[in-house]
Subunit: 426 residues, 2 copies
């Protein structure tokens, strides 16, 4: 019981600092919680002379080789983010027989297969619970608790920045730019918010969840991403009139003719459990043939929430080390399912457009939908102050390419002044 | 990869049948999902001649000894429920070196410590994910994903029958008896609904979650249970006026002066994530020092949802068998924290009472609260048709024994015609 497991952290930023502090806070109980003490023997940083409050300067190092060559270090915890040098370090750590815990969604979503192969070949753990939805347990539930299910849908709000922005737009009537500025001010959005607001961050998480949940590798490049930059307060108001709220959803579906993987803003009914997930919270909704519906809700980012997931993985790997069973659960992708191209996906659409306010226009617009095979589920017309009519149409489910055909024709018609927005509907 | 792991099911009722069918449905994929095929070699039933659609009659047996003495059976899956003979069978299985998966909340809540000791002594797994909240992954997340946290609160809607009844009372204005009849008609309530409506079923789950989450054994007898039989449609209406909804909550708190463990109806704000958990759904809300708030939502009962959790445990145990690491995570109770007596818990209360409608009554009532140290947070008075006044008071947090003192005095006052209801407030 008095064993000590030595680990190294790569990175001492927000997450690295959080993991360090959380392990220190739990230190006295670790032998009983884990069966061993966990000692942080090294923290890899770029600049060892920079003061890092709360971190013992003795463990700071800028020398990766001193870590990877140290046979006493059994777990490398990669918290640097980005592709390089994280990828090289993780490869070298696994090749040296070290177990790896990482919070790096970019890396797992783009180079997961290669890294899992390497982990398996070296009988090592490669754990990544923190890569998706921060503190929320989702990877381990998918790989273990729900392992008896055929999962058909994994859908979630997995980006806190955009959910904060949409919440402000919904609750306070802000426009996108104002809400983004507020998110930046509060530290929810980074200086360059592109990866968040364009849906790339959520897309990486969708790739990871789909791979784990559907047992078939989905890469980030397979995920169709659309962000929230074109959503307006007007769209949100119309959505509310129709009993819906607008969320940036990552959606992965396991269908008989392939996997659908995409991120886009979506109208969801206000009664759906995901509709009440507000501010910077994340939630993942899962449907399986045995479990039916389930949802996992919590903080998707932040120093300690992310550390919670990372430390959970560290403890799990320690338990495996103590029992001699690292690599107990490796990559679970044993299928090779096709990923559907975007045009082949069926969706419902919300379309808001400005049209001439005169006789025959409604007939003209609806006949375009009819002729292209797009069935209309709901339609609302408002007169606007500029003499136009504002039309909001919600379609039934339609192959996306057929909907695109309808849109192309509508755009070419003189009676259609503007297609203001096109948003998918759950 | 072509290994076969033999298992036995004890019980072929709703859950047993569900587990059998789910394993059969997954059979072709099990070697790749698990690393081995899982073969159901025996299903223990009382009456082998009764036809059981979907179950191969060859595996049916009424002879427990033929199972426990069969060295090829590595996992015993106990799905009979109740204390005996389940307890004896699980003890004998563990003593024979067999791993155990169980869905039996009664047994784990009352005899958990003894069974976990036996599992550890025999290096066996004893898994019980299905004992709490059906399909919802909660035990494994608590033991693994959240293992880095100091958890301070675990609170949930963990009984589907009572949640269905309260949902009907809230949404359709039914009284308790009518809603219970509806639940019975739909098969949500058993012929004898006592364990559900008196809160005992939820209390067992609270005992289990508190034990796992706080690392200290809490027994069912430690849990204060109050059911929903005295809740009326009027209470629910008044609660709604105050922005709240009434739910039967299992609440476990880890406080500096001991563990609080109880089940009772509670007013929670309509904005709380648990407030929107309706019908037969369950949800568990967890607060930890690192993760902050998280919630797990899904189906808490039913043939396949429960089978989902049981099969997840079976697969996990199979993975441990294949890696030679059964008993990898045993009992995690390494503390001996005191459990607070009910009278020492602080609560807020909602009190609805009928009083004389005359001068001085309000002063009389409020002075009783004041003199017993009960501070009033909110008060509403309505005049009723019978000439009385109906008073609704919400108190600030108060030691329960002081509140009881106030109530005793109020009951003895002639101006107080009736204390209609007393419900705790979150």
């Amino acid at each position: 019981m008095n064993q000590t497991i030595q680990i190294a952290l790569l990175g001492a930023g927000t997450v690295g600092g959080g993991v360090y502090k959380l392990l220190e806070k739990r230190r006295s109980e670790l032998p009983q919680r884990v069966g061993a003490d966990i000692q942080i023997s090294a923290v890899l940083v770029r600049n060892v002379s920079r003061p890092r409050p709360g971190i013992d300067p003795v463990v700071l190092t800028d020398d990766w080789q001193s870590i990877v060559r140290n046979p006493d270090i059994k777990i490398v915890v990669e918290l640097m983010g980005g592709i390089e040098p994280a990828r090289t370090y993780i490869r070298e750590a696994l090749q040296a027989g070290k177990n790896v815990v990482t919070a790096n969604k970019d890396l797992i979503a783009e180079h997961g297969a290669e890294l899992f192969d390497l982990a398996e070949a070296n009988h090592c753990d490669l754990q990544f619970e923190a890569a998706v939805a921060g503190a929320i347990p989702i990877i381990r539930p998918l790989k273990q608790c729900l392992a008896g299910n055929e999962l058909t849908e994994i859908m979630g709000i997995v980006n806190g920045t955009t959910n904060y922005i949409l919440t402000r737009m919904t609750q306070d009537g802000m426009e996108f730019d104002e809400a983004l500025a507020k998110a930046t001010e509060l530290g929810y959005a980074e200086a360059d918010p592109t990866a968040d607001i364009e849906g790339y961050d959520a897309g990486r998480k969708v790739a990871i969840m789909a791979s784990v949940g559907f047992h078939s590798r989905v890469r980030f490049s397979d995920v169709v991403c659309e962000g929230i930059t074109s959503i307006t307060a007007t769209d949100i108001r119309f959505a509310r009139e129709m009993g819906c709220t607008i969320k940036l959803l990552g959606v992965a579906r396991n269908t008989p003719d392939g996997i659908e993987a995409r991120v886009h803003p979506m109208l969801i009914p206000q009664s759906h459990p995901l509709a009440t997930v507000n501010d910077a919270f994340n939630a993942v909704f899962v449907h399986g043939d045995a479990l039916d519906d389930a949802m996992f809700y919590g903080r998707g980012a932040g120093e300690f929430p992310t550390a919670s997931a990372v430390v959970g993985d560290i403890i799990d790997t320690c338990r495996n080390l103590l029992m001699g069973c690292t690599a107990r659960i490796g990559c679970t992708c044993f299928k090779e399912l096709p990923v559907k191209p975007a045009a082949e996906i069926d969706s419902k659409f919300f379309v808001r457009m400005k049209v001439d306010h005169r006789l025959g226009v409604l007939a003209g617009v609806t006949s375009v939908f009819g002729n292209t095979g797009v069935s209309i589920a709901q339609m609302v017309q408002h007169q606007t102050t500029d003499g136009c009519a504002e039309l909001v149409v919600i379609t039934d489910a339609v192959r996306e390419k057929h909907f695109d055909d309808a849109l192309t024709i509508l755009c070419s018609m003189s009676m259609v002044r503007e297609i203001c927005s096109v948003i998918r509907v759950y």
